[in-house]
Symmetry: C2
Subunit: 452 residues, 2 copies
């Protein structure tokens, strides 16, 4: 009997992360200072990040060694299984072979701890005592809480107030791992107090929460800030996913023709896909790599490739990326992790160069696919992940139509145990499909800084 | 670097369940018909269960083959990892080696699918089209929903109304896997209608939900009933946990001195411990086997070893077991799976014969232990599992006191993702420790059937 799950032994776990910068046919555009419009240097980032991470943000080295202590924590749940979705193949009636990498096994339930643990460790090396961050629905906040706990770092999470009130379970996870989680806007920061004064009943926003977390980190010597996606060093840490997968495909004697991941900021997609991109860029493998996003936040498929701020308050350096404009306000969307106005510069660059593809789906069709997957494979995936599931399903059905036995691989980035409320709305027919209007994208151009 | 997780390959997964009946020094007392007071035969159970399961209920064969189709479903998440809790050992400062078997990896989040899948398959073989069951907090209902889905069997779950209203997430899981989940009491059954007439606002109870599920199964030719614990065939199916663990300990070159599981009906404990009991009974291994229960429902530690009904409505055959009396009403207790008045007859028998030990803990000390475990190992366990965690912790601390490097193994029966509300109450100091009064146990004697 052939195995369904391909397990890698801990001793086989990759000991280096992969840095795609080293293999890009054309280098990425620099990050720009919003005042001087000149490329930024390490010192510009030093108030917020430890130097170890800033170096990783800029390095051109192909492989970066994973510190032993980080490996030690990874081993609590890694290597994660690569699973052949045989039941789902049967249910779809496809000749395709479908594999998924199952990141839902981490204690926080998603891929996010892969970078959280690394970031906490590099902060620890430089004597950082406290880390601040923001979180929307709570996936990132809980991952960072878990990570800081392992290295005895105080963790303070500014959680968007409406989520803080409506989704207490993620907040309780953070508390269980010893983090402080407070609703944002709060009276702990100047930014928070200003907004509370203007509108005491505000539900908060990710933009406000970022401002609070950044303000507190910049103001205190013992405190740094941590970001869960978008930046190069975050993508780097996540490549453990794809590097493991490569070894697991070797064990299975197989190799994907199509590699799929959902994209919000881009980190689970990059983590899974970049090691396969190496094979494509360096060894000339003929792999299709597909990033999948919601039609309600179509950054790659409808956005502009321009310099923009990473936050709504215009305080970050300028990143060249696909963007819907930093004033983008997402429609109600249950995939909370796919609501970002921009996209990781590295993912944007690959898309701009025509090296990866992008697709966008509506919410209902994603939930429909996720339910089919759950009925066949058991696992209930997160609403974010359901986008990758939908894309994999469509590729599998195309194989059926054409009678092709392609190999399809997707990153199952997380479970949906804390998102069953979204499934409830789907069952009740209450989820509204919404496509972000192209006109609004065009209008956002006016808000972008005048650089090109 | 030594491995933290011991993974068994799918090809090494045990292909037989272990039946402890074959190795008992003294046979178990028979199950008795409540009317005739004579031992029951297969036909007495036929209205509720398929003959394949009734045979397993009564068999004396040592090993029972696991059907290929059941193995095929098990492979979606099994073999589950055995994990060496090195971080927790360090945190406790103990020379003991602590291992936990991690059943939280199943799609339903606990060990329950191990028997649900088997039961669904045996029902399918005999042409059963529908299965009814009851569920309290929803662990068992969601496991059976998952299992029935794989074999295209209609699944109807009567869920205690108060849980149905307060804990929608488990209900949504059942719905995702295609089951019908309705609040009990309902107007679908005579029993339900009677109670609704008397008290329309009743919160329901597990006793009522059992009555409804049994009534509907007995009344319809195409429908059988399914039970998630207590019975011999359920214990049998769960032994896959301990059989895998034995192989994993062999891989690790280790063997437990102390084997621990929490007990409600007894199935996760039996599943983990019985294969180790075989080594103890047959090979003379000197293993301590410890069942852990809540002080609020101290069936083994304070109950009577007598014949009693399995349900509150006095409709089941009589089982010789430790019992608090079938009229037992549990105090508010967050470990919903540990609130049963009785105990699996097989577990009861072993305890009565002095072959296993029992311990009881308060809720707060269990949550305290679970949090320590989560801070060290990452995973947030279910409130039920926290009882096993507490017992393992106390054994580890005793080893520290005595300077002994014992090997401690416990079954981590499930994750707590749907129980974070209980953690919230713990953080808020709102969990009240309650010890069931011995006097009430003595009073319950009067309710027991006059057999001994």
């Amino acid at each position: 009997m052939e195995s369904v799950k391909i397990f890698l032994n801990e001793s086989e776990m990759p000991r280096h992360w992969y840095n795609i910068q080293a293999d890009l046919p054309k280098p990425m555009p620099p990050v720009i200072h919003p005042g001087t419009h000149q490329p930024i240097g390490p010192q510009d980032l030093a108030p917020l990040f430890p130097m170890g991470l800033i170096e990783q943000e800029m390095t051109q080295e192909r492989y970066v060694e994973i510190p032993d202590e980080v490996v030690d924590i990874y081993r609590l749940w890694r290597p994660s299984p690569l699973v052949r979705a045989r039941n789902w193949e049967k249910a779809l009636g496809t000749p395709a072979r479908i594999y998924y990498k199952w990141e839902g096994v981490s204690p926080a339930g998603s891929h996010k701890p892969n970078t959280a643990v690394a970031q906490a460790w590099y902060n620890k090396q430089e004597g950082v005592k406290r880390i601040t961050t923001e979180t929307g629905a709570g996936q990132w906040g809980s991952a960072l809480a878990l990570a800081c706990n392992f290295f005895d770092i105080e963790c303070k999470v500014f959680m968007v107030r409406v989520s803080f009130d409506q989704k207490p379970y993620r907040r309780l996870m953070m508390q269980s791992w010893g983090a402080t989680c407070i609703p944002s806007p709060s009276d702990h920061t100047e930014a928070g107090r200003r907004i509370l004064e203007e509108s005491p009943d505000t539900p908060g926003s990710l933009g406000i929460a970022i401002s609070e977390a950044v303000e507190e980190a910049a103001a205190r010597d013992d405190t740094k800030y941590s970001l869960g996606s978008v930046l190069n060093h975050v993508m780097l840490h996540q490549t453990i996913i794809g590097l493991e997968s490569l070894k697991q495909f070797e064990m299975a004697g197989d190799y994907p023709d199509i590699v799929i991941g959902c994209v919000g900021g881009g980190s689970n997609f990059a983590g899974f896909a970049f090691p396969f991109m190496r094979d494509k860029l360096v060894d000339g493998k003929d792999t299709r790599v597909v990033a999948v996003e919601p039609k309600a936040c179509p950054t790659l498929t409808k956005g502009l490739y321009r310099y923009d701020f990473g936050d709504t308050a215009c305080t970050t350096p300028l990143l060249r990326m696909y963007t819907l404009g930093h004033r983008f306000i997402p429609a109600p969307l249950h995939a909370g992790g796919l609501r970002y106005h921009g996209m990781a510069p590295s993912v944007s660059h690959l898309y701009h160069e025509g090296l990866i593809e992008a697709k966008a789906y509506h919410q209902n069709e994603c939930f429909e696919a996720a339910l089919g997957f759950a009925r066949a494979e058991g696992h209930l995936v997160a609403p974010e992940t359901s986008h990758a599931v939908r894309a994999a399903m469509e590729e599998a059905l195309a194989c059926k139509d054409r009678g092709e036995a392609k190999v399809i691989a997707f990153n199952a980035s997380g479970h949906g145990h804390f998102d069953m409320g979204a499934y409830e709305k789907y069952f009740a027919g209450e989820i509204v499909d919404y496509a972000y209007p192209e006109q609004k994208v065009a209008e956002a151009l006016a808000d972008l800084p005048p650089i090109d």
